[in-house]
């Protein structure tokens, strides 16, 4: 089972969000970056488990600048065998997807795994784009993946109010949701081994940019909270009905 796991770099979940250059750039000052949680906790860990079950190789891929190497090394410490970084600073989901597909199309992967979305742009787009560009089936929001052999996978996909159980033969693309695997903390041996694992840097091909972010804004501040007397829940119900008009 040869699996490509595509990981993204995102600001950590507690990062303060602000913007510079007349609200056109994300303010990176003082922001710590992590591997996107869905990519790391679920997509990568499940891929490593499948490799342990069937043999083969897990390749980690990131599209980004050299500063992303720390995150890539963490992925190698968790259990990926080798890594590829496509040297580009993508400005859109489409650009990222094109770089991934350009690399992956000549390789022989049985699976291409993504997280269900990144926690910065929340797009849920790259996985489907790569699937289309490579003409592979795509299963989004996979919360369970079982394989008895490398010929067929049974995948549970989260849908509104329930799940759908699907069968698909490799190669396929999937995006990983909670439940697909358990978060794994790299151990010392993994961290040491990661330093010796290969990290190939690939030059990016020119890609057109059909969509781009032109500005940001922060949400309007909420007005001050209206405190309600705990002895008077009738008052809260009245406000929800008459003022907020939600009940």
């Amino acid at each position: 089972m040869n699996i490509l796991v595509c990981v993204s770099k995102t600001p950590e979940t507690t990062a303060k969000i602000s913007f510079t250059d007349d609200n056109t750039q994300f303010n990176t000052e003082g922001v710590n970056y992590i591997m996107n949680p869905y990519d790391e906790w679920y997509a990568l860990v499940r891929a490593v488990e499948l490799k342990e079950q069937f043999g083969g190789e897990v390749t980690l891929l990131n599209v980004g600048p050299a500063a992303n190497d720390a995150i890539i090394r963490k992925g190698l410490a968790i259990g990926a065998d080798k890594a590829v970084r496509v040297d580009a600073e993508p400005g859109s989901a489409y650009e990222t997807a094109k770089h991934i597909a350009n690399y992956a199309k000549d390789q022989d992967f049985d699976g291409v795994f993504f997280g269900k979305e990144t926690i910065d742009y929340n797009g849920s787009e790259v996985g489907g784009m790569v699937a289309e560009l490579m003409d592979l089936p795509f299963i989004s929001y996979a919360s369970k993946l079982e394989m008895d052999s490398t010929d067929e996978a049974t995948i549970t996909r989260d849908i509104e109010g329930g799940v759908e159980v699907l069968e698909v033969a490799p190669p396929f693309c999937l995006s990983a949701a909670k439940g697909l695997a358990e978060q794994k903390i790299p151990n010392m041996r993994g961290i040491m081994m990661a330093k010796r694992k290969p990290l190939e840097v690939v030059e990016a091909e020119e890609v057109n940019q059909p969509a781009e972010v032109v500005g940001f804004r922060l949400p309007e501040e909420k007005g001050k909270v209206t405190l309600i007397d705990p002895e008077n829940m009738e008052e809260l119900v009245r406000l929800l009905h008459e003022e907020a008009k939600v009940i």
């Binding site: 507690t14 989901a93 289309e132 159980v165 059909p210 804004r217 829940m233 809260l236 939600v246």
Partner: protein, 319 residues
């Protein structure tokens, strides 16, 4: 050139999200100065989409479309758009819509913006805003390609009756190869409104002290007709099923009413709920950060105040 909106029918029927996306698409078509055509698959009453603004409805038909698959449905929408000369496709930001948006945009090599919650503008180019950083900010995207694909987050705008059922419904028989993915079964939680679709949500956190105390939460939710949710520590400790987990790494929701009980309001939790219309926070700690994001706050012991809120709602409903 026209706007093609895909309205999802589940079990033959549309839900509110389908009508929302049609209204959104109609308003987008008005902005672009063009026509709004609704596409649907396996719907029992496609003419209903005319009520919410579609100028015309097409029912996409093929043996390959019996069950949802991202690959085959992308091909169906591609063929329909081609036939109709549509350059803008609008999807629901649902589990199916999220599987389609990337595929269709990549097929066309065009710009796409997922999870939009505002209408686009069309002055000096096509621009549209969406929430980013899990709701902590908004970004405006500019799409420069001739074609474009958007997905609309639920509860962004109310469905409006902008037309009637006297709308042309045309059947498109499409030639599409069978999907590579086989649907074995579908399991839905019975009786409950799924969280992403719920308009009223009662959510509880670590302040509940243990899973055995959830009776008062369920009673409040039942009385209100609300769906229950929980914070991450609660689902991580298996006090509640993980599909109830809302927040940055759980699901993001935007109900009309979110009642947070015994949840301190960590930034990761807020990220998943701060687009709710009205937020009520019940917490005994007046310093809980959640109060800063709340519309209404009750500083009190939840075990004391929640049953009284339930009683007050019962009285209100009876009156």
């Amino acid at each position: 050139m026209s706007v093609l909106v895909y309205a999802e029918a589940h079990g033959g029927a549309f839900n509110k999200k389908a009508f929302e996306v049609v209204t959104y698409a109609r308003k987008t078509a008005d902005i672009l100065g063009t026509e709004c055509i609704a596409a649907t698959v396996n719907s029992d009453n496609p003419e209903k989409l005319g009520v919410y603004g579609a100028h015309k409805v097409v029912q996409l038909q093929s043996g390959a479309l019996e069950k949802f698959d991202a690959g085959t449905y992308t091909k169906a929408l591609d063929q329909a758009a081609e036939k109709l000369g549509a350059d803008t496709v609008i999807l629901q930001h649902s589990s199916d819509g999220k599987s389609l948006i990337g595929r269709l945009a990549a097929r066309w090599g065009c710009g796409s913006v997922s999870a939009v919650n505002q209408l686009p503008t069309y002055e000096g180019g096509f621009k549209v805003e969406k929430p980013v950083f899990s709701g902590k900010a908004f970004a405006t995207y500019s799409i420069s390609s001739d074609r474009r694909v958007l997905s609309l987050v639920g509860n962004s705008l109310p469905p409006e009756e902008m037309g009637d059922e006297q709308v042309d419904v045309e059947k498109f028989d499409l030639d599409i190869e069978a999907p590579k993915v086989k649907v074995v079964k579908v399991d839905k939680v019975k009786g409950e409104i799924p969280l992403p679709e719920a308009e009223l949500v009662v959510s509880a956190g670590r302040g509940m002290k243990g899973p055995e105390n959830w009776g008062i939460i369920e009673e409040l939710a039942d009385t209100l007709g609300a769906t229950t949710a929980c914070s991450r520590p609660v689902s991580d400790s298996d006090w509640r099923p993980h599909h109830e987990h809302v927040g940055q790494t759980g699901i993001a929701i935007r109900p009309n009413l979110y009642i947070a009980i015994g949840i301190s309001g960590a930034i990761q939790h807020l990220a998943g709920v701060n687009n709710s219309d009205t937020i009520v926070v019940i917490n005994k700690d007046p310093e809980a950060p959640f109060f800063k994001s709340a519309d209404y706050g009750v500083v009190a012991d939840l075990f004391d105040v929640v049953p009284r809120l339930t009683e007050a709602i019962k009285k209100f409903k009876a009156s």
